[in-house]
Amino acid sequence: MGKVMLEVKDLKTKYVTRFHEDVYAVDGVSLKVEEGKSLGIAGESGCGKSTLALSLMGYYFAPLHYISGDIIVDGQTISNMKPDDVRRKILGNEIAYIPQAAMNALNPTQKIIRFIEDVIHAHGIKMTKKEIYDMARERFAELGLPEEVLEKHAVELSGGMKQRTVIAISTILSPKVLIADEPSSALDVTSQKMVIRMMRQLMEKGYIKSMIFITHELPLLYNVTDDIAVMYAGQFVELGTAKEMVFDPVHPYAKGLMGSIIVPEEGMKAHELTALRGTPPNLKNPPKGCRFAPRCPYAVPTCTAMAPDEKEFENGRCYRCLMSVRKLREVYANGNESKPEPETEFD
Amino acid sequence: MKNTIKQVFHSGKFLFGFIIFMLILLTVIIYPIFVTADPLAMLGQGNFFKPGTYASIEESALSKSYTLQIPKEFSKLEAVLDIETRAEIQQFLINQAGVAESEIDVTDAEGLVSLWKANYDQNTKYAGLTTAKRKALKRLDNEITAAMKDSGVIIAEKDEEGNLKQSKVIKDTDYVNIKDVTTKTFVLGTDNFGRDVLTELVAATKSSLKIGLLAGLIATAIGLLLGLLAGYMGGLADNIIIFITNLFTVIPSFVILILISYSVGDSARGIAMVGIIIGITSWPWTTRSVRSQVISLRNRDHVNLSKLSGHSMFRIIFTDILPYIASYVVMAMILQISSGILAEAQLSMIGLGPATTKTATLGLMMQWAMQYSAHLNGSWWAYFPVVILIALISFSLNLMNTGLDQVFNPQLRD
């Protein structure tokens, strides 16, 4: 077992809307990422995955608020640090965050090298311009980015190149954790592939120790990360290795999500797509019982009354459902006509 | 819709502006109910009476008078002889007149005055005094003489033969009961024609709001119509409308305003005419901004869908575009009203405002105050309340506009 790079214990955060309503977007998320490993987080829009990405940084600003839970980066708890300390000591050094529109963050009037100088100086590292330039050139070459980019302005670069440049800049201090929130969704497929390849290079060359990758594109996640967590209504409903999750999901929601994958591969035309009825719950007042119960094809009355806990089965796989894994698999094998009773582990 | 209105009133800025504006509006509506007098009636003959309560002299003279035995502490003499004056007299009596200090009792005003009268003579040149001091003593003597006089005022009337006949003597000790005579309170004093500034101000605010509203409505109507047509139709219609709009934009609108105001002549320039003149010169920027909004809406999916449903151009404009920019138009109109009121003030200041002797406007009040040099002779009450009110109206309207802006464009918040 590798060294744990990022550990999150029962993290809860909320948003406060303009009308002073609380939205519990992350409601009890626990995860663990080891050195050299990557975790993918999948989910529909509005399930809280982007909020989770922001919350993992440990840097909270309105309208996002921290409620409870721990975030431990390489043995150091950051969730109880002062915001200013987090910004200066953790962000960039320990954790790097890349949002979807990261490429738009580049000021068009500055050369790329200026941003790198800025990052280095903002973290109090004393280096001359020459040293920074040499370091940046070396790093860019390692990541397959042309050296000329350093002397260019953001407007001269294509979207994919901009996004790769931003990733290279934000990992220039070799952070331990990279949190990427849909880093390639706004790009065309070719640029996406290049961004993904670069992220893999970052991992392989040890510039980042671990990665959290958030996207709604499941085939992409399957190819990028070691583990996949499926998120629904602010909670993880299932966690496992990428292969297990895509081909053998256990939770009914994960099953539905994986059944909606479409890839341009032979046999796809005959493939049966899963359709889930209904819409995700409003996170202002999440349902009392299982959050997926209103949409679950296998739900029974108990499901709407009792909230399931996250349970571990097999090595490291977790799921959140009242039914046992054995029972669920039985149900999937028989089709969805029969509605099974959940196991009465708790009466 | 209901939700939007609720949201609007959640905005602190809007609410604050709205309350100020409503207070002004309510005052304008309610005040005339209680004060029915003509706001432009000339109550006083003379310029710029200070704020305060005034009693009728004529009535005071003719009404029943009471002779009051005023205690001596309150007599005129006591009032003239303050501590310093007494010390001065004492010093004079000792140094110049040679009266023994023991004989002088400064607390006894009458004794002091009799000593003074016995020893002081205006024509004697006392030694040991500066000229200024001598003159001061002379003045003091006069004052004391006047204070000791007991005679009153004689009121005489001419009889049929033209001879004056004494009808009444008012003595110094005569007083009238304030309840027996008419009094008049001018909270903000009077203006140059002796008109009550407060009543006039309320009436002026009403007419200024009318002008602003009329100007705002006209400017918004023209601007909205042209903007909608230019934005939605595009092509040639857009080019023509934008050409005209640009023409109006490059010529300073105030110059056009002055020229039109001048050319319609004094007699035609009433409240409504000034409103119309301001309205038809201030639409260009509404047109430009409405046009740009419409252009961004024109290619929205719901407009395309409406087109594909075979709806006519006017139906699309009025049901698929206008409701979307309604909030924006309301905001633009609020600003137009505010700038209409300011434009009226500007026009009136240079003498091109409503030519009227029947109603006042805020601008006209400013102009009158300026022409009669209120700002030079310190009659602040003639112009300062007007300035405050113009600023308040403008401020409240702009505050409402900002509040609305924040509600309708939430990105601007924080």
């Binding site: 190819n223 890839v263 359709a275 889930l276 | 719901h302 395309n304 869908l305 594909l308």
Partner: protein, 283 residues
């Protein structure tokens, strides 16, 4: 569960009839020196009852092409033939007539509705367009109920609601109900599933297939997702820089691509069953 029941176009006894064709269709934006050719001399024949996908990356001109076919923007060059005859939309009346035969579903359900109209008004509008304005009220309600149940919505619950009170998936389904009421010959679906969640996507696709089967509709499906195009369509047109680089049956184009661009596009999409080769990326 959605099932793709129709693997191939309906085998009619007769030859496939072209429903919409284009000859040398071109659209140039801008004037003088700053011109952009959005669509560059494309030819096509879309047959009746087929689902045709136009696949292209952003900026390839697929949306411009769809707007030209809808008659929302003018063509610079070339002709569009509708049912074998050149399309004539020179007057408003002719445009109205043409629009009875072609209707769209747009990408963003949230901007497709006038937020000031209730759902009932949206559906009534469709009935008016088909000339059912003076039908008795019960009959109208029956038609609207039928359309809503076609897309698994309950009409009775919707009458007094505004579209924005629905979820994205429901709004898109309502759009399909609208199409069901209008019964056009051609449906122009411009990325109808790209803004909605994966779990609701299957429902929408299922309904599009059902529409085609029930009213023999030609569906032009515009998408950037090559997997989706493969899943739903009979024929696929691959578009690059305003030109069709490859076209043919879905199987042929996706499984055995010939054009370099198609090959690259397919190889760059992440795969599940095959290995997704990250190293063969063009720099």
């Amino acid at each position: 569960m959605a099932t793709n029941q129709n693997q191939s176009p309906k085998q009619n006894s007769t030859e496939p009839k072209p429903c919409l064709s284009g000859r040398g269709l071109t659209k140039v934006f801008g004037v003088g020196k700053v011109q952009t050719v959005a669509v560059d001399h494309v030819d096509f024949d879309f047959n009746e009852g087929e689902i045709i996908s136009i696949v292209g990356e952003s900026g390839s001109g697929k949306t411009t092409l769809s707007k030209m076919l809808l008659g929302l923007i003018s063509t610079t060059e070339g002709t569009i033939e509708y049912q074998g005859k050149p399309r004539d939309i020179s007057t408003n009346a002719k445009k109205k007539e043409y629009w009875k035969n072609i209707q769209p579903i747009f990408q963003d359900p949230f901007s497709s509705y006038n937020i000031f109209y209730k759902i009932d008004a949206v559906l009534d509008d469709c009935l008016n367009m088909r000339g059912f304005k003076n039908l008795p009220e019960e009959q109208k309600i029956q038609m609207k109920t039928e359309a809503c149940s076609f897309v698994n919505l309950k009409y009775a619950e919707l009458t007094n609601k505004y579209p924005f009170e629905l979820s994205g998936g429901q709004m898109q389904r309502l759009m399909i109900a609208r199409i069901f009421l209008l019964k056009p010959k051609i449906l122009m679906a411009d990325e109808p599933t790209s803004m909605i969640d994966a779990c609701s996507r299957a429902t929408i696709l299922d309904m599009l297939l059902k529409l085609r089967d029930e009213i023999n509709m030609t569906i032009i499906f515009i998408t950037h997702d090559i997997g989706l195009a493969y899943y739903i369509s009979d024929k696929v047109y691959i578009m690059e820089h305003g030109k069709f680089v490859e076209s043919g049956s879905a199987e042929d184009v996706i499984i055995n691509p010939q054009a370099d661009y198609t090959k690259r596009l397919i190889s760059d999409v992440p795969k599940i069953y095959e290995k997704w080769d990250l190293d063969t990326v063009a720099n």
